[in-house]
Symmetry: C2
Subunit: 384 residues, 2 copies
C-alpha cells in the first residue's frame, strides 16, 4: 500500500483527448498570457498532480495564507505559492475576460484558465516571505523580480503539456511512479532530490536510507537555473553511470523532478517532501542546507522547519542527514553523528575545490567520487 | 520527548527501603520457592520496569492469551509468557499459603509474591506455542523442560534485586537510560540487541540506523546461555574497544539487557522491541533471523511478525535489516538491497569460519572485523 497523495487524491487537470480540439478552438478567442519558464514547469506539475491537491494557480486567500502560515486557507500544509504572475500591461490586456489562454514561448496554447481573481502581490514583500530576503542576488528573488506584481488566480483545463525534448525516458508523472512502485512491490520508498552529480556522500546517505525501506527514487532537477551548476545532460550521464555500476535496479530508479528550482531553503524542503508524497514516496531525504543557496539559510533550518507540523499533516516522513565524508580512520563513509575522529581524518571537499580539480583534468580522490562519475565530469569540463 | 513506556507508565515493584526490613521478617514464615536463572533475570526485569506494564508473574488468562494471540488479556501486545514455574512437589510444599517468598540460589529472599493462581501449563504444548517446536535440542525448550509443569501467578513486592557482580557500570535500568537519554538531549534513540562481538556488518547496520536518529544504545545480553558463544567478559571488552575507537560518545552508549536469552525468534523480536521501548528507545533494529537459533525460524520471520500489529500498538519503530557484507566492487559495506554485485565480490564469513580463524590465531580480514576487536578475540581464544 503506497502513501496516499497530499490531500487524498491525485489531481489530473488534462482534458480528455476528445475535448482538446474544441477547447483549443474556443481558446483562440481568449486573451493570452505567455508563461515564463517557471510557470511552464508549474503548469506541468499542476496538470500531472505533482502539486495535488492544487487545481490551478493560487487565488488571493490561498496565496497570503501560504505566505503567512505555510498552509492553504483550508489548513492543508503547503509552503510555497504557485502563482501565475502578470504585469499591469497584461492585466489591461486581459480586460474583463473571465477565461484566458496560457501559451508557451512559441505561441502554442497549453491551457485555459477560468480566471477567478486578479490581485496585487507585491514582489519584494513576497520575496521576503518566501526566501527570507529580497536581495536580487538570490536566484529565487531574481526569478520573481523578472515577473509582474499581480497574480492571476483560477482553475485550469490543460490542453497540452509543455513539449519536452530531453530525458524522455525519465519523465515519469506521479501516476507513473506510483504504478512503477506497485509493480516492483515497493510500499516504502525514499525520494532523493538533487541538482548535482552524485558523490560518495550522496550515495552513502541514499543507501543508509534505502537500507530501511524498499526502494529509492533519485529525482534530479534538470532545468539548469544557475550558471555554475553542472549541466543536466552531463549530470544525467553521471546518474546513469553510478546507477549502472553501484545501485541494484530492483531497489532503485531515476525520474525527473520537473521543477524550476527556487532556492527557498526550508520552505522548499517541505514543498519537495509534499511533491514526493504525490509521487508515492513514503520518505524523503532532507540534507544539510536543503534547497539553500549562499548563506541565506542556517544549515539545519530546512530540517527544523518540519517540527512546525504534526507528522500526519505532512504524511511523508522526512529523514534528516548531516554532511557525509570518508573518514580515513573509520575507513568508511560517515557523518559527525557516526564518526568520532577529527576533521583531519575526513576527506571533504567544497564544490569549488572539486570544480577546480575537474577543470584541471584531475579526478577527485576515489574516497570522494566514483571513478565512473569522475571520468564523465572530467570529459565534460574538458569540452565545456 | 521520549517515547512513553509500554502501557503508559514505567513499573517499579521495589519496596521502599523503610519497608524492606519488616517485609523480610514477615517473609521468613512463608513457604519458599527457589528461582532458577531465568526466573532471577525475569524478577529483575519485572522489578525495574523492563517488562512494563507487567507487575508480576503471569496468571492463567494472561498466560494463555499470550500463547494464543501474543496479547495480554486486556489486548496489550505481549508476545512471551513471563512465568514462575513450579513442580508438583513445590505446589504441595506451598500448600494453601497465599503469600510465598522467592529466594535466590543462596537462600536470600528477593521478593514476596501475592499468590493469585496456580495452574497447569504443560511444557511441551507451551514450547510449541512459544518456539514453534518442542525439540529438546532447542535451547529455549531445554530451559523450559528443566522447569515444572505448573505456573504460579501473582503480583510481586521486591525486597532486593539479584546481586550482580560483573559489568556494574553498564547495568542501567529503564529509568536510568531514560534519564541518560534526556540528559544527552536524545529523543529518537535506536536500540541494538546482541549476544555476539560486533563485526563490521553490525557496525554498518547500527550506524545506518543512527544516521536517522539522535542516539544508539547497544544492549548486549551477558548471561551466556550457549557454550559456543563468546563469553560475555570477552565480548564486553570488544564492545568497549570498538566504542572507544569508532563510535562518537555523544551519540552512542552501552548498557546491559539482563535477559536470559530464549531463542524464541519472531516472538522474542517483538519482546525485545517492547522492552527497549521501556528503556526509552524509539527505534529497534531487527536483523535477519533475530533471536533465532539453528533452523527453527525462517530468516525474515522475526521481521514479518511485526506486520501482525498496528504500529501504534507496538509504539517503538522496528527497523529491518538484511545481512550486511563488505563488497570489494562497491568498496564499502552494503546489503543485497544496496549492492548490485555478485556474491564473489562480497566478504562474508560464517560464525564457524571466524571461530576457526580466531582459534588458529589468525585475525579475520580488516573488511570483516575491526583490528581492535580481532586482537581481543584472538587473545581470548588463545587463553580459552
Amino acid at each position: 500500500m503506497l502513501i496516499p497523495p497530499h490531500g487524498g487524491a491525485l489531481v489530473d487537470l488534462r482534458l480528455t483527448p476528445d475535448d482538446v480540439a474544441s477547447a483549443r478552438e474556443n481558446a483562440q478567442k481568449m486573451p493570452r498570457i505567455r508563461l515564463d519558464r517557471k510557470e511552464i514547469d508549474d503548469l506541468e506539475m499542476l496538470a500531472t498532480g505533482v502539486y495535488s491537491p492544487l487545481r490551478g494557480f493560487m487565488g488571493q486567500s490561498d496565496f497570503f495564507s501560504v505566505l503567512e502560515r505555510m498552509r492553504l486557507k483550508d489548513d492543508t500544509v503547503w509552503p510555497l505559492p504557485v502563482t501565475l504572475r502578470a504585469t499591469a500591461e497584461e492585466i489591461d490586456h486581459i480586460g474583463t475576460s473571465d477565461r484566458i489562454a496560457l501559451e508557451n514561448e512559441t505561441g502554442t496554447i497549453l491551457a485555459v484558465m477560468e480566471l477567478h481573481e486578479r490581485f496585487l502581490a507585491e514582489r519584494s514583500s513576497t520575496a521576503r516571505a518566501i526566501y527570507g530576503t529580497d536581495d536580487p542576488a538570490h536566484p529565487g528573488v531574481q526569478t520573481l523580480m523578472s515577473e509582474g506584481d499581480f497574480c492571476l488566480g483560477g482553475s485550469l483545463q490543460v490542453l497540452d503539456l509543455p513539449a519536452r525534448k530531453r530525458f524522455l525516458p525519465y519523465r515519469l508523472e506521479p501516476s507513473d511512479t506510483r504504478r512503477e512502485f506497485e509493480k516492483r512491490g515497493w510500499s516504502r520508498v525514499v525520494g532523493f532530490q538533487t541538482r548535482n552529480p552524485l558523490h560518495h556522500a550522496h550515495e552513502y546517505i541514499q543507501k543508509c536510507a534505502l537500507e530501511e525501506v524498499d526502494g529509492l527514487i533519485l529525482q534530479p532537477i534538470v532545468d539548469d537555473p544557475k550558471p555554475d551548476d553542472v549541466p543536466a545532460a552531463v549530470r544525467m550521464k553521471t546518474y546513469e553511470a553510478i546507477f549502472a555500476h553501484y545501485y541494484p535496479p530492483e531497489h532503485s530508479m531515476i525520474s525527473i523532478f520537473p521543477e524550476f528550482m527556487q532556492y527557498a531553503g526550508p520552505r522548499e524542503a517541505v514543498f519537495h517532501a509534499l511533491c514526493r508524497k504525490n509521487y508515492g514516496c513514503s520518505h524523503f531525504i532532507v540534507g544539510r542546507d536543503h534547497a539553500g543557496v549562499g548563506n541565506y539559510y542556517g544549515p539545519y533550518d530546512a530540517q527544523r522547519i518540519f517540527s512546525r507540523f504534526e507528522p500526519n499533516e505532512i504524511g511523508i516522513i522526512p529523514i534528516f542527514f548531516e554532511v557525509a565524508f570518508y573518514c580515513r580512520r573509520c575507513e568508511n563513509m560517515a557523518t559527525l553523528k557516526t564518526c568520532p575522529h577529527k576533521a583531519e581524518d575526513h576527506v571533504l571537499y567544497s564544490g569549488t575545490q572539486i570544480r577546480t580539480m575537474l577543470r584541471a583534468g584531475e579526478p577527485p580522490p576515489r574516497e570522494f567520487t566514483r571513478p565512473e562519475v569522475a571520468e564523465i565530469l572530467i570529459e565534460a569540463y574538458r569540452t565545456l
